[in-house]
């Protein structure tokens, strides 16, 4: 380490006084300039010009380049994105933005899909059907897949329209459900419409979803439910034989059987000949309250628990107000109303060995669809066998699908004409069926109303149409599905 030699010289008295004075009265001095002299005042405009000139040049350049000025900062607004509606196999049924919605398949499932239009006060775009019920999901840009089978839908629509034209029906509906799952395979209405042209419709009455919302008096297709309920409650044995007269007076009304039959009938033959008298005799084993309660258990008089599709609950009048002829009418499916969807769901109880499975139209909802046991499985199978016997041995031979067993029941119900204030005989012709009867795959319900053909009955109108639908449906199945392997 180098040593530094320092010589210390003591301060003089004057020097000491000057240093102490400086401490007592410090003077403030401006900091010395760091860069150089300040900008002279006369140079400041020139400096400002230098700063502003590039801005002016840039603006000139933008205008010269065709850039619009001033351009307010804004996000380009795209048309509102709307999800597509797809059939079960991915076929696009509805697509496009809310402002320009298109339905590529035209009339296919139009009643079910409904349509969308311009923005509504609540911010929605869907105006009818699934477009309305699924509006929030579709507006979020999500696609929705339905359970519909487009081939079966096309078959149902075509055959319904053909039967309606052939027999002069004013309207009609078809619902096909898949046994076990409750998937709605097809839902057709007549007359139909093209949703692409909905804005030009003059008659808006055709756009309603008839299979789900139109109420009809079902008629004789209700008879199997009374038999099933009696069997379940052990108030009837399947092998019982009843004395059945050709007509019966109940209250102020006389009920007659349309088909001539033997005086003694087995239960299955009461269904085969669709005996009103036999059924009314059986119905006497229930009180009105019990009968109404059973109809509720089968799903009538309450909404079907189907997600995203509006449906009607139907009417079962309060049983305490029934007079005897009301009870008798209810047993044969009159004085009450139901939708085609309700009937199909109720027939699925026979197909599902006694289990009620709520139908579903949106594929994602099928797994979580509610189900409940309504009948003993043995009772459901017995009724199914009776219905198969009915198709096999009655005038319903036209409902038989070649090569496949069918369990079913027809109905020819009187229709109340609101305008005339009177009933029209056989105003609603219906058929409800299950095929194959042994291992059900499909439940179908069909009806036509206000048939103008003279003497038309369900056996000659809806039974052959049901067969046409069933045959074409079976033609789509592969061998394994056909044989139930």
């Amino acid at each position: 380490m180098a040593l530094r030699h320092v010589t210390v010289t003591p301060l003089t008295r004057r020097q000491t006084q000057a240093r102490e004075g400086a401490r007592a009265h410090p003077t403030v001095q401006p900091p010395p300039p760091e860069g150089g002299p300040e900008l002279e005042l006369r140079k400041r405009p020139l400096f400002a010009l230098c700063l502003g000139l590039p801005l002016v040049l840039a603006l000139g350049g933008f205008v010269g380049a065709g850039v619009r000025l001033p351009a307010w900062p804004e996000v380009l607004a795209e048309p509102t994105q709307r999800g597509a509606i797809l059939a079960g196999d991915g076929t696009i049924l509805a697509e496009g933005d809310a402002g320009l919605r298109r339905y590529p398949q035209g009339r296919l499932a139009a009643h079910l899909l409904g349509f969308s239009g311009s923005e509504q006060p609540d911010g929605s775009y869907g105006l009818e059907g699934l477009e309305r019920k699924l509006d929030a999901t579709l507006q979020a840009g999500e696609d929705v897949q339905l359970t519909l089978d487009p081939d079966l839908q096309a078959i149902a629509q075509t055959e319904l329209a053909r039967a309606a034209a052939l027999h002069g029906a004013k309207n009609g509906a078809v619902v096909l459900l898949e046994a076990g799952t409750g998937r709605v395979l097809a839902s057709a209405a007549y007359p139909d419409f093209d949703p692409n042209a909905q804005a030009t419709f003059l008659d808006r009455s055709v756009i309603g979803n008839r299979p789900f919302t139109a109420l009809v008096e079902p008629g004789s297709v209700m008879k199997p439910f009374v038999v099933a309920a009696l069997l379940h409650d052990r108030r009837l044995r399947p092998d019982e034989v009843l004395n059945v007269e050709p007509s019966l007076r109940v209250g102020d009304k006389t009920f007659t059987d349309v088909t001539a039959h033997e005086p003694k009938l087995e239960i299955r033959d009461i269904l085969r000949v669709s005996s009103n008298v036999g059924m009314i005799r059986l119905g006497e084993r229930f009180s009105s309250t019990e009968l109404a309660s059973w109809y509720h258990r089968f799903g009538f008089g309450r909404e079907v628990a189907i997600d995203y599709a509006a449906n009607e609950e139907g009417t079962i009048n309060p049983p305490e107000a029934w007079v005897p002829q009301d009870h008798a009418s209810a047993v044969i499916g009159q004085s009450m109303s139901a939708t085609a969807l309700q009937l199909a769901a109720a027939y699925s109880i026979f197909a599902n060995d006694g289990l009620y499975v709520a139908p579903q139209i949106v594929a994602s909802q099928v797994a979580s669809t509610p189900s409940e046991r309504v009948l003993d499985s043995e009772v459901a199978r017995t009724v199914r066998e009776m219905l198969a016997y009915t198709v096999q041995n009655s005038s319903l031979i036209d409902a038989k699908i070649p090569g496949v067993s069918v369990a079913g029941k027809s109905g020819s119900a009187d229709l109340y004409d609101v305008d005339k204030g009177a009933y029209i005989d056989a105003g609603t012709l219906s058929f409800a069926g299950i095929f194959p009867a042994e291992k059900p795959k499909v439940i179908g319900v069909m009806y036509l109303q206000r048939v103008t053909e003279k003497g038309a009955l369900s056996v000659s109108v809806t039974a052959p149409a049901f067969r046409a639908i069933g045959s074409q449906a079976v033609a789509l199945w592969d061998e394994a599905a056909l044989t139930g392997r």
Partner: protein
Amino acid sequence: MTRISQRLLALYLASLLALAALGAHNQLRRGHHEAVLGQKYLLQTQLSALRQEVAGVTGVLAIRSWAVERGMVAAPEALNVGEVDAVPAPRTPLPQGALEVDTLWR
């Protein structure tokens, strides 16, 4: 003008020019975006219209209607079912493999 002022001025001018260039680029991109969106809308409209046209020819309703007009009968309703080929194809036992394709003509 001090040295620091000169530097700041240069930085200001450079930033201004960069901002101007970015703004111009943004404006041009916006115009392009607008054009592309218009094109997308046009193409979507065309696609939907074409899908509708295609459905009029190959859609399930169109095919069914075409076939029925030409006498199509559902397989279960056919009265006579026969081999289409003059001589039935020889039936040779296939080796059991992991994948089997079984074609059934109806």
